[in-house]
């Protein structure tokens, strides 16, 4: 007896099957698909026409005006004028940082990249558990090294002349603000989180009030506080520059959010860990420092990355207090005579920069979560 198998109908498998299942399964599905296709076509055509086909890439002064006049003569709308971005790319990246010192930014980037590659390599190989601590120490050391590299020693210094923080701008400032904000807020956040979980009412009330107060108001009010109230509440001998004051504001703000993240990690530590630490004779301080915190921090790394991403986006608020971060540069550039009115190009470029960086970070954090087994119990 022979059994004949009929092949499944061509409309159920392969490309056709996929199309039918995902795009044309019911009549309203067909309607939705058609609508979406029209929508995508319309949007993509507009964008590609404006940004590429009709766009002017020439950096010659006046090239955009000619293109605009030509388009107007033909009764069409002009495309993008990318000269605003191309001409000012250095300004967008490092702003007013002295040109002859830009190598220091590259060197800092090199340090970070080298450390990143080293970390990835050591974490990948099985038999290098011992070296991991050196990588952590390396990361911790890189922060002051980069800080010194970027700011320099003093005006007279031969090797690394001082670059005032007021000159830090563009993407550099954005990254510095976000990094310092998250790094400096971390120890503060640990203290606040421990304080909020403390059994001592005075400390608990103080920490809870701080956290809730900061989380209840917008970042801009905290920046406002650091800009205007700091000089009032500190004696006249202590004065900081605008950038440092913005950093203080970012740190105070970010600390409240760090504290809540770390508190989440602390809450996830089983009580047995505390009891075991007590049983081997550790005092409170050692128990927290050696047993509880390392585990808690490891648990909240993805949450901290998430916080870093949102802080990274929030740094744009310093534009409102007059600093020149990536967005501030775009705002300043578009008010120059040569590039006036080119808001669309400049802001789209800024948005694209943020999108690439944030998307990469959130992609990395998702990979990290998988690698660390967060969410798998």
């Amino acid at each position: 007896m022979t059994t004949t198998y009929e092949k499944p109908p061509a409309t159920e498998v392969g490309v056709l099957g996929w199309l039918k299942k995902n795009l044309f399964s019911t009549w309203y599905d067909i309607l939705l698909t058609t609508g979406s296709l029209v929508f995508i076509y319309g949007v993509l055509r507009e964008i590609i026409e404006w940004a590429i086909i009709k766009a002017t890439f020439s950096t010659e002064p006046g090239a955009c005006k000619e293109a605009k006049a030509a388009a107007a003569a033909a009764g069409q709308t002009a495309g993008a004028c990318w000269s605003v971005v191309i001409t000012n790319i250095k300004v967008f990246m490092s702003g007013r940082y002295p040109t002859e010192e830009v190598w220091r930014i590259w060197a800092s980037l090199g340090i970070v990249a080298a450390l990143a590659v080293l970390t990835w390599w050591i974490w990948r190989s099985q038999n290098m558990e011992e070296s991991r601590r050196w990588v952590v120490i390396g990361w911790l050391l890189s922060l002051p090294v980069i800080a010194i590299l970027l700011s320099g020693f003093s005006e007279e210094s031969e090797i690394l002349p001082l670059v005032a923080t007021e000159l830090w701008s563009g993407l550099l400032l954005t990254i510095v603000l976000a990094t310092v904000g998250i790094v400096a807020s971390f120890p503060l956040g640990v203290l606040l989180a421990l304080g909020r979980r403390s059994e001592l009412p005075a400390i608990k009330v103080f920490c809870t009030m701080y956290i809730e107060l900061i989380r209840g108001v917008p970042l801009i009010t905290v920046l406002f506080m650091s800009q205007l109230l700091l000089p009032i509440f500190l004696p006249p001998q202590i004065r900081f520059g605008t950038v440092v004051r913005a950093l203080v504001g970012m740190t105070l703000f970010s600390a409240a959010y760090s504290a809540e993240n770390i508190r989440g990690g602390l809450a996830a530590i089983p009580i047995g860990q505390y009891e075991a630490a007590k049983a081997v004779g550790l005092n409170n301080l050692l128990m927290i420092a050696l047993i509880i915190l390392p585990q808690a921090i490891q648990k909240v790394i993805p949450a901290i990355v998430g916080q870093f991403i949102s802080l990274f986006k929030d740094t744009t608020l310093v534009v409102i207090i007059g600093l020149l971060d990536l967005l501030g540069v775009a705002k300043a550039v578009t008010s120059q005579h040569d590039f006036i009115g080119l808001h669309k190009e400049a802001y789209l470029f800024v948005a694209l920069m943020f999108f690439i960086l944030c998307y990469a970070m959130s992609y990395g954090s998702r990979r990290l979560e998988v690698a660390m087994g967060v969410g798998e119990r």
Binding site: V217, I220, K344
Partner: protein, 402 residues
Amino acid sequence: MTHSSSTYSAARHGAVPFWRDIRVLRVIAQIVFVIVVLALGAWLLGNYRSWLAERNLTFSYRFLRLEASFDLAEGIPFKPTDSYARAFLVGVVNTIRVASVGIVFATLLGLVTGVARLSRNWLVSHIASVYIEIIRNTPLLVQLFFLYFAVILKLPNLKVKDEITAITLPGPTYLSNRGLAMPWPRPSEAFESWWPFLIVALVVAVVLLILRTRGVQRTGRPSFSFLWVVLAFFAIPAIGWLVVQGKPLVLDVPVIKGLKAQGGTTLSPEYVALTLGLVVYTGAFIAEVVRAGILAVPKGQAEAARAQGFTEMQILRLIVLPQALRVIIPPLISQYLNLTKNSSLAIGIGFLDLYAVARTMLNQSGRVVEVFLMIMAAYLSTSLFISLIMNVVNRRIQIVER
């Protein structure tokens, strides 16, 4: 609490000197902490005092009654002779105008996008996720700047040489770089005899809602309770409309006179940009909240309902959404709070919200600390108010659910 047993037994033996007694140490630790905090506070306050003394100022709110002498062209009427207090009120009202409208539309957008993200249609779900990823990975302020400077201010003029150049939508609604002018109902003389009908309608609708909900809970029979409520809410004022002499509400239509639109209502370009920006931004976050909430409902629930012959719409309305809401509400509250706090970015595009007005007050009066405390108080009470309302809603949903 983990120390109590050991401390207790040790204390009973009388062997623990007070400097090692944990109960004493705790009190001492707190006293030291309070003293440090107070000392720090006193130091800061002392610096503030000498700052005040240098400028011959005192901490006081009396300036609020003084004439503001600046103009505010947004929101409730304000003229330069009005007081600082009134100026602050204008700012608070403007923030509420943005936040309330923003919350409603962001919720709708988030709901639609969240459901679209889960659509079985591949294209629809991917369009939704592209929108969500783009919005969530770019800063709100960049989006607002783009929307305001690159889109809204680049709209055509309202009028060029006696010719209307604004984008004209049915209504007529004029969209131009001067903002959005649209028709708006205006109460006429007959409104006075008509408004009691509105109140009756509201009462009847609420009573009906309660009765019908109880009926459904008692009998378990499906009923279009919501439809009845809506019907009652609209039918009673409609009857009133016929009974009352003349039209109680007149549709006020914008007319372009000179270089401005008159009549109807005009939303300023700043208001349009800010509200639209906040809606688009928060909508993407709410979409993710909605998606997570729907995914949290076990698949079996929808499958069981499908097996019992519910339609897809009924499954969503009666089975999935009520259970998803339980998961959705808490993160939704924090999104509403975020929207309200983010409305402070208004100052970046020149909308006169509470923060922007406060900054102007500060520049005029020089009362830094006083104004700062007012800003803090305003935001904290708004946050508190929203979370209070939403907690009540949350509690109701939890009870209905179980």
